[in-house]
Symmetry: C2
Subunit: 319 residues, 2 copies
């Protein structure tokens, strides 16, 4: 059971979580949540997405959110960006990092981004050029890296080729994303090992969805293979357009609880995260998948029961 003694968790609920919601969370609530998250210790927060407001109305206030947050020293505020226009808006809004996204699957990239992968890559080259010389860093994500809902499994050689293209573009970080929760631990271990032959662990982020319940098992496999940077969403927000009712991103507080129980440092305040997660339902109008916010952390013990009333034989028979 070997891996890094620290996990770096990037909070993505404000972006990958809220983009799936039907309700528009008011701008001031988003700002309040971003500030509470930085207060809980996150060094990286994906704040919003600079996409067409027609495509994702839930995030149409991206610039206002960036303008309103209180910048915590040491926290990197990230914006997801699909194209050059989005990059210009993100830079103008003061994003510390822009996160580009292209799918491993050509079919998914056309469905998700409305363009071919070659068109995506051409745009990314222009964006990297435009950013060069500024203090803004560029991360590039590979969506459907562990499987595409239209095409199925993506060959690992295809992922390696995209990593190489991204690295040649000059990005500073790469994210492998399991967009619709198709990854399994064996595949994750192999893919992470192969990726780490091409880049250092400090530049590699894993983005898992819990669509089929394997999110934290995949984190464990990735961590054992040498990765230590993970995206996660408070409460497990996120969902999946192909699986109504299914879980979303891996849940931040569940991941942090696992890490702390395993004696891994995250720099995060779990009690604060649980408190924030419990406020999500009132913000978005429905329950969220996270478990630790319901059960409490394992360290929270219960008062010992009185036994006088229980001498009449077995009561619970739990195992």
């Amino acid at each position: 059971m070997n891996g890094s003694s620290k996990l770096l968790v990037q909070e993505v609920a404000l972006r990958d979580g809220l983009q799936m919601e039907q309700v528009f969370v008011p701008t001031e609530e988003k700002i309040r949540l971003a500030d509470a998250l930085s207060g809980a210790g996150f060094s990286r927060i994906e704040v919003s997405s600079f996409v067409s407001p027609k495509a994702i109305p839930a995030l149409r206030d991206a610039a206002d959110v960036f303008a309103g947050i209180t910048r915590r020293p040491g926290t990197i505020y990230v914006a997801l960006v699909p194209n050059q226009k989005g990059a210009e808006r993100a830079l103008a809004a003061g994003a510390d990092e822009i996160n580009l996204v292209m799918s491993a699957s050509e079919t998914h990239n056309r469905a998700n981004m409305g363009m071919t992968r070659e068109a995506s890559l051409a745009g990314f080259a222009a964006i990297v050029q435009a950013v060069r010389g500024s203090n803004v860093s560029v991360n590039a994500s590979i969506a459907t890296a562990f499987g595409c809902p239209f095409e199925g499994e993506q060959p690992i050689e295809k992922i390696e080729a995209i990593i190489d293209r991204y690295l040649r573009l000059g990005v500073t970080g790469i994210t492998l994303a399991d967009t619709t929760g198709m990854a399994n631990p064996r595949q994750v271990a192999k893919t992470v090992r192969r990726a780490l032959e091409r880049m250092p662990a400090g530049a590699l982020t894993l983005h898992f969805h819990d669509t089929r319940g394997l999110g934290l098992a995949n984190v464990l496999a990735a961590w054992q293979a040498g990765a230590y940077r993970f995206d996660a969403a408070l409460g497990g927000l996120g969902g999946c357009p192909f699986a109504p009712g299914a879980s979303g991103n891996i849940c931040t507080e569940d991941l942090v609880s696992m890490a702390h129980e395993m004696q891994l440092e995250t720099g995060l305040d779990l009690a604060a995260l649980i408190d924030l997660s419990r406020r999500l339902p009132s913000l978005i109008g429905h329950a969220v998948p996270g478990q630790v916010a319901k059960a409490g952390p394992p360290s929270r013990l219960h008062p010992k029961p009185g036994f006088a009333a229980r001498s009449d034989g077995p009561r619970g028979i739990a195992d």
Copy 2:
């Protein structure tokens, strides 16, 4: 990523799942489900519990369920039993195996079983004696093996001592149970390795609850440490008396999907399990936690979208 190429899954929804439900599932529905589960390939099904009907009214029909099921050759039908009286009833009902349960934690054993651990062990000795010479096998479970909601973490030496007592009693199998979902992968790996110094993997079962979302990560850790037998409940039935709204046992179809994706054999028909899981809400009156029944297996692909209507730029921006 090494471990056994096969997983043995014991289905426990009829016992550990239904005992938590407020509704009484009609006996004929239980029988139908047990027969459907054996039809889906289970070699081990925990059918019911021979406890006081006052303690667990949901399982008051244990003998009738055993009498009604169609025995599939090769399937072992298990009954949970708290004491000698329960054992007599289980034997009379024709159980193939009886599963005894005692907590690692003295406090939990008194709360759950209404007796001290020494009283539990004395009863177990009598039961093993009574069964000796018959074809009925005896498994013994250690509840709260990975933590007690009253006492907290249980020292591994305590678990080893109970394993030794169980083995001296002459049981044929031992289950380590994470009764309230307090285990973490690092602890699981260590505990399984230590247990397997005392007994073969073929006699060791792990029983995980997903109370804090770590169920399948714990399975992965246990499998890597050499274990291959796991309890799981269809749909993730089960719940936790200390965590209202929390998940229950690890979900059978999610576990089986993970195993199959990792190329591990289970002998189980995943499509049949998903079909059965989807019928659970009508049986018990509420949704169940399992994810694969909602999302479908990863191999279920979606029709490729038409692109003509999507040439106007990014639409989804999922990663």
